[in-house]
């Protein structure tokens, strides 16, 4: 592609400029993607170098350190105690003792079972006293996996603490060498609300995130490589075990043999649901965005009365819990609901319109209805956001545009829209991703219905309005509870979201600096 200089560019006729812009955008994609890949490469390189540096540091500290430091490598906190920092030293020592006791009595067992996820399942055992067969429960795969992951986390935490212990010895030696005094326990406590205050503040939230988000996610990622489902629950009926990539193979295979009786393969079903998820997210995001902006502009216009009233009416929709409004609206549009009743009374239709059940054209009618009702749900949020931003656009821009004779449409496309898009770029991305995972609207309105006959045998029986996220939910609550499929879908959702965000972030002109305001 030929690159123009600024002067050449300005000489071009308008339509050529437009095409030039588009072409240069697409031409820049390969470079940008290349930069992205390099960036990822650099990240891994940095991680690798960082780890190597840690090893080196541990080694040199040992070689150069005094005897107190050397003993600390085996008895954590020894150096601290020997140098008078009793409280710190005892905490290190306590942690080491807890770790060793845990590993001997429990951790070792869980780790040793992790590769097999349990050896002996529940079995019928003859009970001579009562002369019957009773079930004897043995290994518990679920617990093995859970506590195995927990133990791994504990080991990582131990290694990290050990590393901190080593570094503290190094720092303490340096301080003593320079002739200063080490911190007392009292000073330690004071620094927790002062220069180390961030650690105090982050401790509780991070603990919650690690225990209730990170570990469950690690666990569920692992589940995708097992056969954990309703009939292999790991304790009561059958053990579950590692199956490698089998589940991914089934989910992404084009053969209909393993599709649970559906006439189409899992890959086709997954593709359909993914396509609808993306279409839905696109329409849900952009219809709301533009209509919400439009409504905000209407309310903000000079000479419009009762601005506050219009806004409050819209905000009311946000205030009322979605499960009430969505469930009610879904019943309004039901086949024997009030909307059909009105339309019949008016004589506009004879037969009820099946808003939620029509399977014509891959469920086109339910899909459109869902998108339209989502506009009803979404406009108020966008109206609020757009109002805030529109008020910030400098008024003199419009004044000078008017003096130059720009029509309202021109003002919109040349001032309002670019400004809005620039400010809300990141928001558009998050809202797109949020819509991809918009469980409430879909589940409360349709529950995924109408069922897709070609995919009815697939896990969780897929419907035409099902998003990936509602499909996942239906699988886990369904009769067969194929948790491994839910896990596979979750991982694939993550992959899609991650790819979209990475691409959008690297193509976006510039991310704003968070220090701009401070």
């Amino acid at each position: 592609m030929k690159k123009y200089s600024d002067l050449e560019y300005l000489k071009l006729p308008k339509w050529k400029r437009f095409f030039y812009k588009i072409a240069s955008f697409f031409a820049s994609i390969p470079t940008k993607l290349k930069n992205l890949i390099f960036k990822i490469g650099r990240f891994f390189k940095a991680v690798f170098l960082g780890i190597a540096g840690e090893f080196k540091d541990v080694f040199t500290t040992f070689v150069k350190g005094d005897w107190k430091t050397k003993i600390s490598y085996f008895v954590m906190g020894f150096g601290c105690i020997a140098r008078g920092q009793i409280m710190r030293g005892l905490l290190f020592l306590l942690f080491e003792c807890v770790f060793i006791v845990y590993m001997i009595f429990w951790g070792g067992y869980w780790l040793s079972m992790l590769p097999s996820l349990g050896k002996v399942g529940p079995k019928e055992v003859y009970d001579p006293i009562y002369d019957t067969y009773i079930t004897e429960y043995n290994d518990n795969s679920f617990k093995i996996l859970l506590y195995g992951v927990l133990t791994l986390f504990f080991i990582i935490a131990f290694i990290y603490t050990w590393r901190v212990n080593v570094r503290q010895n190094k720092v303490a030696e340096e301080i003593i060498r320079s002739g200063k005094k080490l911190k007392s326990a009292k000073q330690d406590l004071r620094s927790m609300v002062d220069d180390q205050f961030h650690k105090t503040l982050l401790a509780l939230p991070m603990l919650g995130i690690i225990v209730f988000t990170v570990m469950p996610i690690v666990f569920m990622i692992l589940v995708a490589f097992t056969n954990y489902d309703g009939s292999h629950d790991g304790f009561n009926n059958n053990l579950f075990t590692w199956v490698g990539l089998d589940n991914f193979n089934t989910m992404l295979s084009w053969s209909t043999s393993g599709s649970g009786g559906s006439t189409q393969s899992y890959a086709a079903t997954f593709g359909e649901v993914l396509a609808w998820t993306l279409i839905w997210a696109f329409f849900a995001t952009f219809t709301n965005y533009f209509l919400g902006m439009f409504v905000a502009m209407m309310i903000n216009k000079k000479g419009i009365r009762l601005k506050k009233v219009w806004r409050t009416i819209l905000v009311l929709t946000i205030a009322i819990p979605q499960f009430i409004s969505l469930l009610y609206v879904s019943k309004m549009f039901a086949k024997n609901g009030i909307v059909n009743g009105f339309l019949k009374d008016l004589g506009w239709i004879k037969e009820s319109i099946d808003f939620w059940g029509s399977t014509k054209l891959n469920g086109l009618l339910p899909r459109i209805t869902v998108i339209i009702i989502n506009i009803w749900i979404g406009i108020p949020y966008l109206m609020l956001i757009a109002t805030g931003i529109l008020m910030n656009i400098p008024a003199d821009l419009y004044e000078s545009a008017k003096i130059d004779g720009a029509s309202p449409w021109k003002q919109y496309t040349k001032i309002t829209l670019p400004y809005m898009l620039f400010i809300t770029g990141p928001y558009l991305l998050t809202s797109f991703i949020g819509n991809m995972n918009n469980f409430n609207v879909i589940y409360l309105l349709t529950g995924g219905a109408p069922t897709n006959p070609a995919a009815s045998g697939a896990a969780g029986s897929v419907g035409y309005t099902d998003l990936l996220i509602t499909w996942l939910f239906k699988i886990t609550t369904g009769a067969e509870s194929q948790y491994y499929f839910a896990s596979v879908i979750g991982i694939l959702v993550f992959a899609v979201v991650a790819v979209i965000s990475l691409i959008v972030y690297s193509l976006m002109p510039s991310t704003r600096n968070e220090e701009d305001f401070q």
């Binding site: 219009w310 009416i313 905000v315 205030a319 819990p321 499960f323 469930l327 009030i338 910030n392 979750g490």
Partner: protein, 298 residues
């Protein structure tokens, strides 16, 4: 003279077109308001519908009119006699405790990430961004099993629910971090020079200035559990004693119950919606500030 006339004419023309466009917009706004309010008005009206059919049972579902033929409070009385107020109480307690704890956690997180500069800050934020890309629903399977082992599901679902709502709430720090970013750092520095500790800076200087964001955080933290369906349904599954209003009322609209419970659902909806709607209208200012700030500062 002639020129002046034409300017005046132009002015008049603009005024007329202004008038027309403003009228059109007013009409549009009225139509919109009607569309937005219709479902809520319908719910309110149908909650008072008490007419019976030939067999003497109450007509609830499948009618093509909204204005009740016979008015009465029967639906609200039925509500009282069903398990509804147990659910209502459940929801309220959970929402209240969650709001309190979650606000503390979110503020800790966002304040730290906004004001402190430490080595792990950027990696931490990126890490949480990536964590957020996993569908949260995925973790429910294991959380349910673990809570079940701890005895915090079904009838005893309330502590379990609070735990799950609060534990991961630190990840929703974006909006309040955006707010803290706008408070000038020179304020902190001045106080630090005068010898105040970081803790003092937070409690004596920043918090008093942060009333809007604190209220916004409390409000959203309360609204989350108040309207939550998925998690509550998962954790309290199968035992009505542990339901919250959303899960309890959802089953009233299932196929086998809708004929009996439709108007009761409307009455329940009114009872659930009124307190939050009032709360919302009173605190609207803070909510709007939070939402716009959050979107602008990302």
């Amino acid at each position: 003279m002639k020129k002046e006339n034409s300017i005046q004419k132009q002015h008049m023309g603009m005024k007329a077109s202004q008038l027309i466009s403003n009228t059109v917009i007013h009409v549009l706004l009225v139509i919109m308001s009607v569309i937005w309010l219709v479902p809520f008005v319908f719910i309110l009206l149908q909650s008072f519908r008490t007419e019976t059919n030939e067999t003497g049972t109450m007509v609830t579902w499948m009618v093509d009119y909204v204005i009740p033929k016979k008015w009465g409070f029967d639906n609200y009385i039925n509500l009282w006699n069903s398990g509804f107020f147990r659910w209502y109480f459940n929801t309220f307690i959970v929402a209240l405790i969650t709001a309190a704890l979650q606000t503390i956690i979110v503020l800790c997180m966002s304040y730290t990430l906004s004001r402190f500069r430490f080595k792990m800050r950027k990696p931490l934020m990126k890490f949480m961004l990536i964590l957020g890309m996993f569908p949260g629903m995925l973790t429910m399977i294991i959380l349910y099993r673990v809570l079940k082992d701890l005895g915090m599901t079904q009838a005893n679902a309330l502590p379990g629910l609070v735990l799950v709502y609060v534990a991961s709430s630190g990840m929703g720090y974006y909006v309040s971090k955006g707010f803290f970013d706008t408070i000038p750092k020179s304020l902190d520095e001045a106080a630090r020079v005068d010898g105040a500790s970081r803790f003092k800076v937070l409690t004596k200087i920043i918090l008093p200035m942060s009333k809007p964001i604190v209220i916004y955080t409390i409000l959203t933290a309360f609204m989350g559990p108040w309207g939550d369906f998925v998690l509550a349904r998962y954790i309290a599954f199968g035992d009505t004693a542990g339901y919250n209003v959303a899960v309890g009322m959802y089953q009233w609209l299932t196929l086998d119950q809708i004929n009996k419970c439709y108007t009761m659902f409307c009455a329940g909806g009114v009872v659930v919606a009124i307190p939050v709607a009032l709360l919302f209208i009173f605190l609207q200012k803070y909510y709007v500030e939070g939402v716009t700030g959050g979107a602008v500062k990302g």
